[in-house]
Amino acid sequence: MTMTMTGTEELKSLFARIAEAMAREKDRLCELDGVIGDADHGIAMELGFAAAAKAVSELDTTAADPTLVFNTAAKSFLNAVGASSGPLYATALMRAGAVAKGKSTLNDDDMVEIFAALAKGIQDRGKAEVGEKTMVDAWAPAAAACRAARDQGLSLAGCFAAALKAGEAGAEATKDMVAAKGRSSRLGDRALGHMDPGAASAVVVIACFHDHFM
């Protein structure tokens, strides 16, 4: 089993990848949000990750450690986006930064922990449980699957493959949910049949992790 060591340069390209993906998916995400929310989720995610990718790209690779990368990403995401996604992803990224604390490169176990920290950050900030039709429905099962795969000794690529599969299933499952958090929680049954936009964008982020470490 190969071992990847993820450093600042790697993280920069991961953020660049996510930003590109969001630019591609922006319209679809806005469309999903238009059905059960306020039609801006694609804009928020694109703005946020574009700002994060730009800010981390400007960091001096030799001087900046992974913690600084995550914290910089968190801060710029937050300043760019005031929507729900802003504090949710900023908190996620700060938690990731805390896990990376003191490390100049991250090994596979670290990356799994970081992935879990992202999910945990979102859940702590938004106080949503699985089943409430939010991005947590993608992030929580993805993080659990990722950890479980790691516990079974899978490679990082295998872990993120498991995470992606679980995240996709989770996002798909939001279609059958009535929302209890976020804007769509006012809609009651009218939200049924529609995927939560935050869960959809979570899958985009998770897919970037998967593709990056493949």
Binding site: C30, E31, G34, G37, D38, A39, D40, I43, A44, L78, N79, A80, V81, G82, A83, S84, G86, P87, L88, A90, T91, R125, G126, V178, A180, K181, G182, R183, S185, R186, L187, G188, D189, R190
Partner: protein, 330 residues
């Protein structure tokens, strides 16, 4: 969709700049134009700060001034301001007595204000009052889903007046929290609105339709109904609001708020119906407010708000206020 804008990107900044130019008497920009604050900060007074997405004007910037808000932060259209904007406002408005954040109950607003409070908590004493005056629907269950809509104006007015009178941070927090269960609102939309950024209308209504139970972000309400006459619509709103807090009882303030595209004449007509309904149900309407205070861009529609206040609170309502949108007594 014809609107008086130049570009979707610049519309909020241009509108807020126009606001500041028009009301230099009351307001100035805060640092880096991150927020609007009152021209003369009062040392020793607890600062009252609010904010939210743009598109609700005059809320909240129109309530910055003597007797109401000390600062207001404006986000993109229908999008919460960032923690950095809010933290800067706290920095500039709090002179040591602490500050109260008045937050409309939307996940985005709540989380951004919460992060700002965390960021600023080292140097400032901060309390948060969450406003959720929207009616409770069967679906929202524990009431967590109640959104902050037009009733927010009342909370901001009363807290602003109380702070001006010297109330402490803890007392203000107590007042704000105690108000929540006594203010209730419900809105109806006759048209959807499109956020210029996305050019996408969140709901479109036919000529014979209306959307009941809407908030102020162009989001759908809880049901689509056939359009009807003013009496039928307004009585339904009044009854729902009344039933939702009838337990509070007492003397009330009745508020009919326009959502942006409905003219004063129609708001007054609606007020007439709402007032009659409340009086017929034995309420004493001690104060009234009719006008366009909390909007959803140029949506045609309105909301009815009922607030049961104590004598002390009515006196806070009557206290002098000098802001762009609410002004009396000075």
């Amino acid at each position: 969709m014809k609107k008086f804008i130049n570009t979707a990107e610049t519309m909020v900044a241009e509108s807020v700049e126009g606001f500041v130019r028009a009301h230099e008497e009351f307001v100035v920009f805060g640092v880096d134009r991150k927020f609007i604050r009152r021209r003369h900060i009062v040392p020793g007074k607890v600062a009252i700060i609010s904010g939210g997405g743009a598109g609700h004007e005059p809320m909240h910037i129109g309530f910055v001034g003597h007797g109401m808000l000390d600062a207001a932060c404006v986000g993109h259209i229908f999008t919460s301001p960032t923690p950095s904007q809010i933290a800067s406002a706290i920095e500039e408005a709090d002179t040591g007595a602490g500050c109260v954040l008045v937050v409309k109950n939307y996940d985005g607003d709540v989380m951004n204000f919460e992060m700002a409070a965390e960021m600023a908590s080292g140097r400032h004493k901060i309390e948060t009052v969450i406003v959720g005056d929207d009616i409770e629907t069967a679906r929202t269950g524990d009431g967590r889903g109640r959104r902050g809509i037009a009733g927010t104006v009342i909370v901001e007015k009363l807290l602003g007046a109380a702070a001006e009178r010297g109330m402490t941070l803890a007392e203000l927090k107590g007042l704000g929290d105690s108000l929540a269960p006594r203010i209730r609102s419900m809105g109806v939309a006759l048209t959807g609105v499109a956020v210029p950024h996305t050019q996408r209308s969140t709901f479109a209504l036919g000529p014979g339709e209306m959307e009941m139970g809407v908030g102020i972000h162009g989001e759908p309400g809880h049901s689509r109904e056939p359009f009807s006459n003013a009496d039928t619509i307004v009585r339904h709103l009044s009854e729902t609001v009344y039933d939702d807090i009838a337990r509070a009882a007492g003397k009330a303030l009745l508020f009919v708020n326009g959502l942006g595209g409905t003219p004063p004449a129609e708001l007054y007509l609606a007020y007439n119906t709402a007032h009659q309904f409340m009086v017929n149900h034995g309420l004493r309407i001690e104060r009234s407010l009719v006008g366009t205070y909390a909007t959803s861009l140029d949506m045609q529609g309105l909301s009815v708000t009922l607030a049961f206040l104590t004598d002390e609170e009515f006196s806070l309502w009557d206290s002098p206020v000098a802001t762009a949108a609410l002004r009396w007594g000075c």
